[in-house]
């Protein structure tokens, strides 16, 4: 477990044109801190750079300026201290469920027994124990994403980064997956950055919700969610949080 610090980060995309070059600023002096073992959602209108933020933290996207720190160490590229869950699952189709989950453990140099032992523990936790020999092509969307979450957790990362993980799922599966994720996070106690465009999902899962404005807006709202867990999506207070966030996001939307 560790804190995640985004310090004075700037990010610009440079696109070459026929005459000169053009640069689009996504972030200009962005500062975000995720406390130890806290669940923070990042939400905002499309094009606000929320996925860019996650990719920078993942080390998959270079930053133009500033620093991103996991605990004490600076992010210089992808690393096993951060587990990533992708929107389109990004499972390896040539590996079965258990080998997908154990992939990162092999990079850590663990023996086959250890790898399978750890992988099985996470598969049991997410109700996939009986599917360990299945290939991704034969799983439903919800099951695939559970494998994706297991794969990210198996390496026991300091920080878990989820990029709209339930965006491609239907409404029912999405709620089930949210419940499952909350349970997993309660057990695993990880620092979590959760990118989403679903306000309800953000309020249900998060200790804090960060709203990003239209680029280069940065953080326009940082809202702690003070509700007891497990949360009831039909509470009056729950609805109030939703209303506050919805209003702020609407303000950020282009007309």
């Amino acid at each position: 477990m560790a804190e995640l610090h985004v310090q004075n980060v700037s990010k610009a995309y440079r696109s070459r044109r026929m005459f000169g070059s053009n640069s689009t600023v996504i972030f200009d002096d962005l500062n975000v801190t995720l406390k130890d073992a806290s669940f923070v959602s990042v939400i905002g209108p499309s094009g606000c750079g929320k996925s860019t933020l996650l990719n920078m933290a993942a080390g998959l996207e270079p930053i133009t300026g500033g620093d991103i720190l996991v605990g004490e160490s600076r992010v210089r590229g992808p690393g096993l201290d951060r587990g990533i869950v992708f929107q389109q699952y990004a499972l390896f189709p040539w590996l079965n469920v258990i080998d997908n989950v154990a992939f990162g453990l092999k990079s850590l140099g663990k023996s086959k027994e250890e790898r399978y032992g750890i992988a099985r523990r996470y598969l049991r936790m997410t109700g996939l124990a009986e599917h360990e020999t299945y290939f991704p092509a034969h799983l439903s969307g919800g099951m695939r994403q559970r494998v994706g979450i297991c794969r990210a957790l198996a390496i026991d990362p300091e920080v878990l980064l989820l990029d709209e993980p339930f965006g491609a799922l239907d409404a029912f599966t999405r709620e089930t997956m949210q419940n499952a994720l909350e349970e997993i996070c309660a057990k695993a106690r990880k620092t979590v950055m959760f990118i989403t465009h679903d306000i309800r999902e953000a309020v249900f899962l998060s200790d804090r919700v960060i709203v990003l404005g239209r680029a280069p807006g940065g953080v326009v709202m940082d809202l702690p969610i003070d509700l007891d867990r497990p949360r009831n999506r039909h509470d009056r207070e729950f609805a109030e949080y939703e209303a506050i966030l919805e209003k702020e996001i609407r303000n950020q939307m282009p007309l």
């Binding site: 998959l60 992808p78 092999k106 991704p136």
Partner: protein, 282 residues
């Protein structure tokens, strides 16, 4: 979700075509249709030989072809010929595809390699492998090396091309997933890049086999090696043994079909089922 559903339905079609219970009858039916022209030709052939329309050297009786086939099998020359051809094919495909897959993957992954190699590759692709025969004969003499070099050349080009495009088509998030799970450099190459491109690599492999097969049969006619299916065909012509010529042609077709159906096609279906994508299955 849409893509996933489509994948499942196409997968079912693949299974339906290969292993649906009760497919025996369907197979028998389609085989009957396929055999129709064969039977027609055999009947026509038999009639022409009986009526002696053509001299027997052009159309020997089917019984003569069959007995030639039998003699060749019993005497063991057929086995030697098939083994020789198969050995040359295997050596060149194995060597060629190791080089080709390595080269193609490097081209797909490293922009620099692509920039350096791609133009030359495009140029070479427009030279048929067979055009190099006079050159390799001059270099190596009338021997097996002259043939193998050309086969390897053709296999390298074919597999490099398909691997190159296969690697370029890999979903970048798969590579990102690999990187974020600790794969980098060479381990990213063999743990993620090559398996992710495997369906394309297999397709290239199949194509390489088919091309090498065609070239090899011709090549064996040009260089007298003493064995090989192509050599046997040419030898039969020189000896005016037309029944052996027809028998040899039949064996060429049969062996080619067997390689394709018993080895290459199952290999492709296997990867297709696991990867969940359908690619160039005829």
């Amino acid at each position: 979700m849409k893509a996933a559903k489509m994948t499942i339905s196409t997968m079912d079609e693949v299974r339906g075509a290969t292993a649906l219970p009760g497919s025996g009858l369907r197979f028998a039916k389609s085989a009957a249709y396929g055999l129709l022209p064969v039977v027609a030709i055999l009947i026509f052939w038999e009639i022409t030989t009986r009526l002696e329309i053509f001299p027997p050297i052009i159309f020997p009786p089917i019984s003569a072809v069959a007995s030639s086939l039998y003699d060749m099998t019993v005497s063991g020359t057929l086995l030697v010929d098939v083994a020789g051809t198969f050995r040359r094919l295997t050596i060149s495909v194995v060597f060629g595809s190791v080089i080709g897959v390595g080269l193609g993957a490097a081209m797909g992954y490293f922009g620099v390699v692509e920039k350096i190699v791609a133009p030359s590759l495009s140029f070479l692709l427009s030279i048929p492998g067979t055009a190099f025969f006079p050159l390799t004969m001059m270099w190596f003499g009338l021997n097996e090396t002259a043939i193998l070099v050309i086969l390897v050349y053709e296999v390298v080009l074919t597999t490099a091309l398909s691997t190159w495009s296969g690697v370029k088509m890999i979903d970048p998030t798969i590579l990102n997933a690999g990187r974020s799970l600790g794969a980098s450099g060479f381990s990213l190459f063999y743990r993620v890049l090559v398996p992710a491109a495997l369906p394309s690599i297999i397709t290239g492999f199949r194509l390489a086999f088919a091309r090498a097969w065609r070239i090899l049969i011709v090549a064996e006619m040009l260089v007298s090696l003493g064995n090989g299916l192509g050599y046997r065909l040419y030898w039969a012509r020189e000896m005016f043994l037309s029944s052996q010529l027809y028998a040899g042609l039949f064996v060429v077709g049969l062996v080619g079909l067997l390689i394709e159906r018993a080895f290459l096609r199952p290999l492709e279906v296997m990867t297709v089922q696991r990867w969940g994508t359908l690619r160039e299955l005829d």
